[in-house]
């Protein structure tokens, strides 16, 4: 190859690269402007959250359905970054009924974890903020709180007591320098007024027994590193049970575990659900786990809910092309396929989302209507809703039938 050719080639290459990068490029001045704008918004929101002595009436609401524990209503959770606003959750609404397991599925980066963190108000402040929408929580004392509007001190009373969370990675969520017992007792000290040290210990040991620890007294005095992954996850579950919560949020509780240990933990979660008579919000990307555990399923994609319904509806009659693709791309045991189905491409860039359907570019069934604006969530049966233009007829039919009934 001649030198001139080489130079020419590299120039061509550089130009191509430049073009490619220009799509995502943000100049220094733009960053400055964006962060200035962001600061205005986040400061105002933080000020709101950090207020003291807020009258309770401000964050009390009413549940739309008293049989629900949690109602998400048009939740928008944004991350204000220097490159732009990332709409991690963009208008999610679903309910968690009493005594049920609601499964949230989706690929990584689709906003399922952020939804649960918004509910716990554990978003990384100041950049992560609940921008608008309501999260109604049905508390034990009969009141309904709007979690999105609650000031920090008030949320501390509920978090860990009435709703608790089990995280994905049990090693990173336990503190390695404190004994298991100390970390378990802490929950009781915080939420049970007037509890003695001995009382807290008794309670912690009882909890460890409840989650099936062989020698709870021994475990009480151990450090997290002395336990195996499955045992650590059991400790996390014990910790979340300490105050009889109404809702347990399990954020990928078994992703880091083996199949055999996963079976143990899922069994335990199901057992616990009946024991405490509460609900579980189960977040996972494993459809097998969802099928086995959940009563209701919510499928998320790029920050929006694209389909929701009962587990039977979602698995027997999946409608949205994304849900179908997810189900078909997982190889199944005892089933021979020549080639796995794949969904082409990846989740789009979360900054500057397009205004048409986010799944259009990856969809195998796209039609002309998909170029229009983002499809609405429409009901196709009393419990099944889907956001796709393909099922407009089905939704129209259902709406007609419903209107006919009313007349």
């Amino acid at each position: 190859m001649k030198i001139t050719d080489k130079i020419f080639q590299s120039k061509e290459k550089r130009l191509a690269q430049k073009k490619d990068r220009a799509k995502h490029y943000v100049s220094g001045k733009e960053i400055h402007d964006i962060s200035k704008e962001n600061l205005k918004i986040t400061r105002a929101l933080e000020k709101q959250a950090n207020r003291k002595n807020v009258p309770e009436a401000e964050y009390l609401t009413k549940m739309h359905d008293p049989n629900n524990i949690v109602e998400f209503d048009d939740l928008h959770t944004y991350f204000f970054t220097d490159a732009g606003v990332v709409k991690a959750v963009d208008g999610a609404s679903f309910d968690i009924p009493k005594k049920s397991i609601v499964g949230v599925v989706g690929e990584s980066g689709c906003g399922k974890s952020v939804t649960s963190l918004s509910l716990m108000r554990l978003l990384q402040a100041p950049s992560g903020q609940i921008f608008s929408g309501e999260i109604r929580f049905n508390a034990k004392d009969g009141k309904a709180y709007n979690i999105a509007k609650m000031p920090r001190y008030a949320i501390n009373q509920i978090r860990g007591k009435e709703m608790t969370m089990i995280f994905q990675e049990p090693m990173t969520s336990l503190n390695p320098v404190f004994r298991i017992g100390f970390q378990l007792d802490e929950v009781s000290f915080l939420h049970v007024p007037g509890i003695t040290r001995e009382g807290a210990k008794q309670k912690s040991i009882a909890m460890l027994k409840l989650v099936g620890m062989a020698m709870p007294e021994n475990t009480y005095n151990q450090y997290p590193h002395e336990l195996s992954g499955g045992m650590r996850q059991r400790v996390m579950i014990a910790m979340s049970l300490a105050c009889d919560p109404r809702l347990i949020i399990a954020d990928e509780p078994t992703t880091a575990l083996d199949v055999t240990i996963q079976a143990q933990i899922l069994d335990l979660l199901r057992e616990i659900k009946t024991k405490i008579d509460g609900s579980i919000m189960l977040i996972t990307h494993d459809l097998g786990v969802i099928a086995e555990m959940a009563d209701y399923v919510v499928v998320m994609y790029a920050g929006r809910i694209i389909e929701k319904g009962t587990a039977h509806e979602i698995f027997e009659n999946p409608l949205h092309p994304y849900t179908i693709g997810l189900e078909r791309s997982k190889p199944k045991i005892q089933q021979k396929v020549d080639r796995l189905y794949t969904i082409p491409g990846t989740v789009p860039n979360p900054i500057n989302m397009p205004d048409y359907c986010y799944f259009r570019d990856r969809c195998s069934k796209r039609c002309d209507r998909c170029d229009g604006k983002y499809p609405e969530l429409r009901q196709v049966s009393p419990t099944h809703t889907v956001s796709c233009y393909l099922y407009d007829e089905l939704a129209d039919q259902y709406a007609k039938g419903k209107a006919g009934e009313r007349k």
Binding site: T260, D286, L287, G288, A291
Partner: protein, 357 residues
């Protein structure tokens, strides 16, 4: 001087020969080298020393891989499954001699890897490649993609200087990476793309054998399917042989021809994929299979839930290593280690349940 001492001078490894070893020594006909068998592992052991004593040398060993034997034919895929801590990754690394081999031998195309010198091993390296589990930590953040893929090509002198760039671009295209990624850095890519880079890096050397150490467990479901399809296409195109290590049984069933189920460093069941998944014989395999969640809410399987955790490989239980968690445990299991026996058509099981019949 025995083989063991030759390999590890200074470390005394003198475990008493068990009944299993004596038996398997007599049953080695299958492990003899013949045309078409690309990889033969013969009683491979890997012990990691623990608790070193200044005078005595190591006092304890972690028996990560404890007497594993198998033969793999060219163009086939061997799946290795098991819980974490059962030694599957160590076995993979030992087959490549990324670890030293404590005892036993690994034959690649008829040459014993365990006894090669550094120089000889280096010449063999392009033929055996590995894809690691975590694409986030196995790529150097300071090297552009082209350099990552091409470094070994240049180092081993596979192509001339003039053809180097085109060659690397061609390899990238094979693995579904566009050519303009050549000068980009790993942090610019998602997990699936990174795993493609890892695969391209392995394939750039025209290997005959690729050891895939959980290549898809860090990825999303939809990306998993893309990567598995890519691996399968490449195998069909270039006649690659895979050792596929995974804990995901559904993936292993899809990709492998043969499966070996490992527990605490030993193989408890091995055979053709269909046999193992249709009619598992060992109680451990049964439990593993029943623990896999099925994406169908109507299927309520009779779960066999294993109690407790995998025991420590430092002091494995006497007799059958699985007896502490086995639901069909008998008296004999607690004292006599079972032998891997053939029950027809290459389906081998190490369990006393069947040996008595």
């Amino acid at each position: 001087m025995t083989d063991k001492e030759k390999l590890n001078p200074g470390i005394q490894v003198a475990p008493v020969e068990t009944a299993q070893e004596t038996h398997s020594r007599l049953n080695d006909a299958e492990l003899e080298y013949s045309e078409g068998k690309i990889l033969i592992a013969r009683h491979v052991k890997k012990y990691f020393p623990l608790g070193k004593n200044w005078f005595k040398g190591p006092t304890q060993f972690v028996r990560a891989v404890d007497d594993v034997s198998f033969a793999l034919e060219r163009g086939k895929t061997l799946g290795i499954v098991g819980e974490s801590g059962c030694g599957k990754t160590t076995l993979g690394r030992t087959l490549l001699r990324l670890n030293s081999i404590t005892a036993g031998s690994v034959y690649f195309d008829g040459t014993d890897i365990a006894t090669l010198t550094r120089k000889e091993l280096r010449n063999l390296r392009p033929k055996i490649q590995i894809i690691f589990q975590d694409p986030y930590s196995s790529l150097s953040p300071r090297m552009p993609v082209g350099e990552i893929i091409g470094e070994a090509v240049r180092e081993h002198g596979l192509v001339t200087k003039e053809k180097y760039h085109d060659y690397v671009v061609e390899v990238m295209k094979k693995c579904g990476l566009p050519s303009y990624y050549f000068d980009r850095y790993p942090h610019e890519f998602s997990g699936g793309q990174r795993q493609r880079i890892c695969i391209a890096r392995a394939l750039a050397l025209n290997p005959e054998l690729v050891i895939c150490d959980e290549p898809v467990s860090a990825l999303d479901v939809s990306i998993q399917a893309q990567i598995i399809n890519l691996l399968k296409d490449l195998q069909n195109q270039y006649g690659l042989t895979y050792v596929f290590i995974s804990h995901d049984l559904s993936v292993v069933q899809y990709i492998s021809d043969d499966v070996a189920v490992m527990y605490l460093g030993t193989v408890v069941e091995t055979g053709k994929t269909e046999y193992i998944f249709r009619k598992p014989m060992h109680p451990y395999t049964e439990a593993l299979l029943s623990a896999v969640p099925v994406p169908d809410p109507n299927v309520k399987m009779n779960r066999i839930i294993l109690k407790g955790d995998i025991p420590s490989p430092v002091n494995p239980p006497a007799g059958c290593k699985f007896h502490t968690r086995c639901r069909k445990c008998m008296d004999i299991c607690k004292s006599v280690p079972p032998i891997l026996k053939d029950y027809g058509d290459g389906h081998k099981v190490a369990c006393h349940l069947y040996s008595q019949e």
